[in-house]
Structure formats: structure tokens, C-alpha cells
């Protein structure tokens, strides 16, 4: 009887252990006994995918990565096991996204409004890769390198080449200049105050009646200037009319100016007068005969 009891106990413990191992493995590996349905996606090499990585639809877990196969065409053929019968809208792109800061990744579907849904065995649309920790680290490295070279350059310019000493010297000079300017400003301020005082005194000394009279005279003079301007304007207009008449050729003056015959006559007359004058100078007695007695 004891022997039978031992057999039963040992058998129960062994079976329980084996069942626990099998069920536990299944649950850990595929999230339960339900097999779900597979979808397939292709991602570029280096996506960092591993089996067990979660599959999300807008962040909600709907499955896990059940297999990752290396393909020689530069892609990873990935099997996504969607647990249960959870729907994934058709044409929704799947993207490999970072999951935490240790380089873990997940596959995330960005759902598109669509009546249809992916069915078992479909190859899903792969979205563009997102920047992962490696890229961010590389960018941080490059920033660090830039900062290091900047620091090195500043160290060279400011410390090694005496830039800092120059800067200090410039600052000291500037301080001295500011001090001098302050002293000048103090002196100028004193003088300005004195000037203002004198001005106020002079202003108060001015007789307001005289100023009024002067202003009245100025107004009168201004009125006279206005009247003069009007007269000049009228004169200008009259002159313009005369000039216009001269230009038009009417009247004696216009003819004198515009008639070539008259010009020629006058020219000839002047010529003859010249000859006459020359002859008078030469033979004055011919023309001037003075007899006193």
C-alpha cells in the first residue's frame, strides 16, 4: 500500500512539473494557448527585432514577434503573431519603434480607417524606420565631438594664445574709459547746469513788450514781403505777356526783334553811321565849320 502511495505521489509531482514546464513555456513564448494568426512584414537589416518583441496597434499590445528570418536582400522577414482574433486595419503601416532606452524595439501599426482588416498570412505595409537609440547616440556623439572641438578652439584662443589676457586688458581699458567719461559727464553736467541757469536768467531778463513789438514788426514785414511777392508775380506775368507779344511778331518791338529786313536795315544804317563817324573824325571840317566871326 505504501509502495502504491509512493508511486502515485511521485507520478503526480512529475506530471505536474512537466505540465507546468510545457504550459509555462507556451505562455511565455506565445502569450497563451491561443495561437492567434500570423502576419508578415519586411524590415531593413539592423532593425533590432527579436522574438517576443511586442506588436502594438497605436500603442496597445495585440501580439508579439514570433519569428525573425534574415534575408539576403537586405531585409528581415518577420512573423508577427496577433493573439486572439484582434483586428488590424488593412493597409495600416507597421513600423519598428524604440521601446525604452535600452535599445529594445516594438512593431507598431499606425491604424488607417479602413473597413477591411489584415487576414492570416498577409504581408503588411512596412513604414519608414524611426530614429532609434543608436542614431540618437550617434547624434549625441557628433554633438559631443563638436563641443569638444569648440572647447579646444576656445581654449587655444582664450588661454593658449593669450586671448583671455587681452580680453581682461580690454575690459580694464574699457573700465578706465568709462571712468573718464563719467568724470567728463560730471564736469559737463555742472557746466550744463550753469548754462541752463544763465539761459533761464537771460530769458527772464527779456522784456516781453519788446518781444511783442518785434513780433508785430515781423508780422508787418512778412505782410509787406507777401505784397512784394504778389507785385513781382504780376510784373512777371506782364513781362511774359510782352515776351509773348515779341515772340508772336506783332508790334514794333516784335518786328525789330523778328523782322530780318529791319535788322538788315538797321545793320546797314549802323554801317553807314560808322563810315560817317569815321569820315567826321577824319575830315571834321567837312561837317563842322565853326565860324566865330
Amino acid at each position: 500500500m505504501k509502495k502504491t502511495r509512493d508511486d502515485v505521489l511521485v507520478g503526480v509531482v512529475i506530471v505536474a512539473g512537466l505540465v507546468l514546464a510545457v504550459v509555462g513555456s507556451l505562455w511565455l513564448a506565445r502569450g497563451g494557448l491561443s495561437k492567434g494568426y500570423p502576419l508578415y512584414a519586411r524590415f531593413a537589416w539592423g532593425a533590432g527585432l527579436k522574438t517576443g518583441a511586442p506588436v502594438w496597434v497605436s500603442g496597445a499590445t495585440v501580439g508579439y514577434v514570433s519569428d525573425v528570418n534574415f534575408e539576403p536582400d537586405g531585409t528581415l522577414l518577420t512573423e508577427l503573431r496577433i493573439t486572439g482574433s484582434q483586428p488590424v486595419p488593412k493597409k495600416s503601416p507597421a513600423t519598428v519603434v524604440p521601446n525604452g532606452i535600452f535599445g529594445d524595439v516594438a512593431v507598431n501599426f499606425t491604424p488607417l480607417r479602413s473597413g477591411a482588416k489584415y487576414v492570416a498570412g498577409d504581408t503588411v505595409v512596412s513604414g519608414p524606420p524611426t530614429a532609434g537609440i543608436a542614431q540618437l547616440t550617434a547624434k549625441a556623439d557628433s554633438i559631443t565631438t563638436s563641443v569638444a572641438s569648440l572647447t579646444s578652439a576656445m581654449n587655444k584662443e582664450l588661454v593658449a594664445d593669450g586671448g583671455l589676457a587681452d580680453l581682461r586688458s580690454t575690459l580694464a581699458g574699457t573700465n578706465k574709459l568709462i571712468a573718464q567719461l563719467s568724470a567728463i559727464a560730471v564736469v559737463q553736467s555742472t557746466q550744463l547746469t550753469a548754462t541752463m541757469t544763465s539761459l533761464r536768467r537771460a530769458t527772464s531778463a527779456v522784456d516781453s513788450a519788446k518781444i511783442d513789438s518785434t513780433l508785430s514788426n515781423l508780422r508787418t514785414a512778412s505782410g509787406n514781403v507777401t505784397s512784394l511777392t504778389r507785385s513781382l508775380d504780376s510784373t512777371g506775368r506782364t513781362l511774359n505777356q510782352i515776351v509773348a507779344k515779341v515772340d508772336s511778331g506783332n508790334g514794333s518791338a516784335a518786328k525789330l526783334v523778328n523782322d530780318p529786313a529791319l535788322y538788315n536795315d538797321v545793320h546797314s544804317l549802323l554801317g553807314r553811321m560808322d563810315s560817317l563817324l569815321a569820315d567826321i573824325k577824319k575830315n571834321p571840317k567837312r561837317y563842322i565849320n565853326v565860324k566865330v566871326f
Binding site: K3, D6, D7, L9, V10, V13, I14, A16, G17, L18, L20, A21, G24, S25, W27, L28, A29, G31, K50, T51, G52, A53, P54, T61, Y64, N99, G100, I101, F102, D104
Partner: protein, 256 residues
């Protein structure tokens, strides 16, 4: 001269254990002798150790989850606790601490039993009656340990992970979904096989070293006590060495 004696003594002890292992292998075909006794030893070693294994594993899981949670710095996703708890318990702490604890409970008992039989000449009596004492006393214990240690390791793994889960959601700010997400991340079924391989190796080590020390005990009750202490120490060290060797050999295949 003393150094030469010491070195030759070490080789001699290794050789004696080699002979002992060969005797065990030689006795394996004689299953009629050890068959019934094996079931009884499986009950003693396996069934009798289930409560202790569960208690140890529960505390291992709880402490692992608790320590892991409070080692995380800001920004790390909390699902890491599930991942680290699973890897720690299944790959290392479950099999190793179960084996070390059972070295005290099972190994010491094997050594004491066989040692007592040796000093009270019961083993000599068996030889006189034409029984093979190795087949009757040692082989059942070795087989029982080889079978039951992996089973106990499975219990330890399950209870450890379960207790880590409970501790995380009850005593820390981790959500069940976070813990489960980490628990399932990058899992490969070979991780369970790895744990079972460790359990098998450790079970064989416990039974073998403790049986050897008991089988070769002498000098009365004091000798039995000395043999028991020696067996526990040697077995514990052997388990740690085997743990390192197993990890070195099999860890590359663990990647999920």
C-alpha cells in the same frame, strides 16, 4: 615529498570517484535490483522536497523583483522587471539555489544513510548476501535525483516567477501588463530546457558526491558526521563549478 604526496593523493581521490562512477554505470542494467527502491527514493528526494523548494523559490522571486524594481533609474520601462526576474529565476537562481538547498536536505541525508549503513556493516552484509550494494543503494538515489531535481527546478521556476509577479504588482508601482510584457519579451523555449539541464546536472552531482562520501564513510558516528560535512561542502562547490561550466557551454544558445 609532502607536496608530491598531496598531489598524488588528489589524483587518487579523483580516481576513486572515477571508479565509483564506473561502478554506478556498470550497475545500471540491473534494474530489477534498484527499480522499486528508485520510486521510494524519488518520493524522498522529490516529493518530500517540494515544500522546501516552493518556499525557497517564492522568496527568490520576491526578492529578485523587489531588488530589480528599485535598481531601475528614471526613464527605464518597468517591463524590464519582468524580463530580469524571468531571466534571473529561470536561468540561474531557480536551478542553482534549489540545488544548493537540496544539497543540505537530500545530499546530507544520502550521506548519512549510506554512512550509517557502512559503519554498521549493513553494506558488508548486502555484499555477503550477493547483492550489489551499488545497484541497491546508490543507483536508485542517483536516478531519483537526476529525475526529480529537474522537476523541482520547474516548480522553483514557476513559483519564483509567479511570486516575482505578485510582489511587483502588490508591493511596487508595476502594472501587471508591464510585468507580463517583460516576462514574454525575447523568450526562447530553450531557456526552460537550459534550466532543466542545470537541474539534471546538479541532481546527478548531489547524488553522486553525497553517495560516494556516505558509501566510503568509516570510523563510526564521528566518521559519518565528517563524511556528511565533507559531502555537503564538496557538492556545493561542485554545483557552483558545474553551474559556471553549463553557462559557458550553453549560454550562447539562450538568445531569444
Amino acid at each position: 615529498m609532502r607536496i608530491i604526496d598531496s598531489v598524488s593523493g588528489s589524483f587518487s581521490r579523483i580516481g576513486e570517484r572515477g571508479h565509483f562512477a564506473a561502478d554506478i554505470v556498470r550497475a545500471l542494467p540491473d534494474w530489477r535490483t534498484y527499480g522499486a527502491e528508485t520510486v521510494r527514493q524519488m518520493r524522498n528526494i522529490g516529493v518530500g522536497s517540494v515544500p522546501l523548494t516552493i518556499i525557497v523559490a517564492a522568496f527568490i522571486g520576491a526578492v529578485t523583483a523587489f531588488q530589480t524594481r528599485y535598481q531601475l533609474f528614471g526613464g527605464v520601462q518597468l517591463s524590464v522587471v519582468g524580463l530580469i526576474s524571468r531571466q534571473s529565476v529561470i536561468l540561474e537562481l531557480g536551478p542553482l539555489l534549489t540545488a544548493l538547498v537540496l544539497t543540505g536536505r537530500v545530499g546530507a541525508r544520502i550521506t548519512a544513510e549510506l554512512g550509517t549503513m557502512r559503519v554498521t556493516e549493513q553494506i558488508d552484509a548486502l555484499e555477503t548476501l550477493a547483492y550489489d550494494p551499488i545497484a541497491y543503494l546508490v543507483v536508485p538515489r542517483v536516478i531519483a535525483a537526476i529525475i526529480m531535481l529537474p522537476i523541482l527546478t520547474i516548480f522553483a521556476d514557476g513559483v519564483g516567477v509567479g511570486m516575482a509577479f505578485l510582489t511587483s504588482i502588490v508591493a511596487t508601482d508595476i502594472l501587471p501588463s508591464d510585468f507580463i510584457a517583460g516576462l514574454q519579451l525575447a523568450f526562447a523555449p530553450f531557456q526552460i530546457v537550459y534550466s532543466l539541464i542545470k537541474g539534471t546536472v546538479f541532481g546527478a552531482a548531489i547524488a553522486f558526491f553525497c553517495s560516494y562520501e556516505g558509501y566510503n564513510a568509516n570510523a563510526g558516528a564521528e566518521g559519518v558526521g565528517r563524511s556528511t560535512a565533507t559531502a555537503v561542502v564538496i557538492t556545493s562547490v561542485a554545483i557552483l563549478i558545474l553551474d559556471a561550466l553549463t553557462a559557458a557551454l550553453l549560454a550562447p544558445y539562450l538568445q531569444g
